[in-house]
Symmetry: C2
Subunit: 147 residues, 2 copies
């Protein structure tokens, strides 16, 4: 099992604000994909849709301002059963976001792609919170072919 | 041992051009750090310097237009002994760049940071080749604290 790891730090932003961007459909639509629907509270299922397809995530855990954990319950075969883990902490007036997409069966080329793409979406989350403007799909940053 | 994985695809660019950007100090200075010196040919050592410090890389392998491999011989403790592996291939008029930073001892927070930062530097490489303008240090994209 292999994992995608990332970290960003969001300037002049409280953990509460980052947590809101991870646990409300409006927040998620501001940085990941504008087509976000469902129930982002613990126990709910969030439907994320992109031009090429999408993911359904079951919300396994939400600890306010600290921790969010999702399990992929529908989407590409390589994603189903993997988990997305978010941990937040304060460092002066920054919020540090530790990200792990855990449990990939193999380090396939699609995993390489998703690792780079996650980085651009984390930068979109950072930008949304720092400037008010994110880059969610369909106006996302392209890292490879139209993706 | 854990690895950082990424992939970008560079539009309208031959593998030869990407290979040049990985195996010449001028090319490397265009996307990673402007302070790049040394010998980027196989068997040489390249010195990459950034405002907070730097890395020395021994060039283990260079297969024109296909493969480049470096070993970190000096730098932060977590980096020394790890390897940076680049594989290139053509896909229509794109060049696909498969990147692996292999052999981290543990998935420490610094590894999370470097994973995100590598993504931004790979986007800098892509931008350099597609537009002529990269974002090497010290004008690099910041993902966390001043980094």
């Amino acid at each position: 099992m292999v994992d995608i790891l990332h970290r960003v730090a969001v300037a002049r932003t409280s953990p509460e604000k980052v947590y809101d961007a991870l646990t409300t459909t409006d927040g998620l639509a501001g940085w990941w994909t504008t087509d976000t629907t469902g129930d982002a509270a613990e126990g709910g299922v969030i439907a994320f849709r992109f031009p090429p397809g999408g993911f359904d995530m079951k919300v396994l855990e939400t600890t306010p301002s600290e921790h969010v954990r999702w399990e992929v319950v529908d989407g590409p075969d390589e994603w189903v059963g993997t988990t997305i883990d978010w941990r937040l902490r304060t460092d002066d007036d920054w919020t540090v976001v530790m990200f792990e997409h855990q449990g990939w069966a193999e380090p396939v080329e699609f995993m390489h792609h998703c690792s780079t793409k996650w980085a651009t979406y984390l930068m979109s989350l950072k930008s949304l919170l720092e400037t008010g403007v994110g880059a969610p799909a369909p106006r996302d940053v392209h890292v490879a072919f139209p993706d």
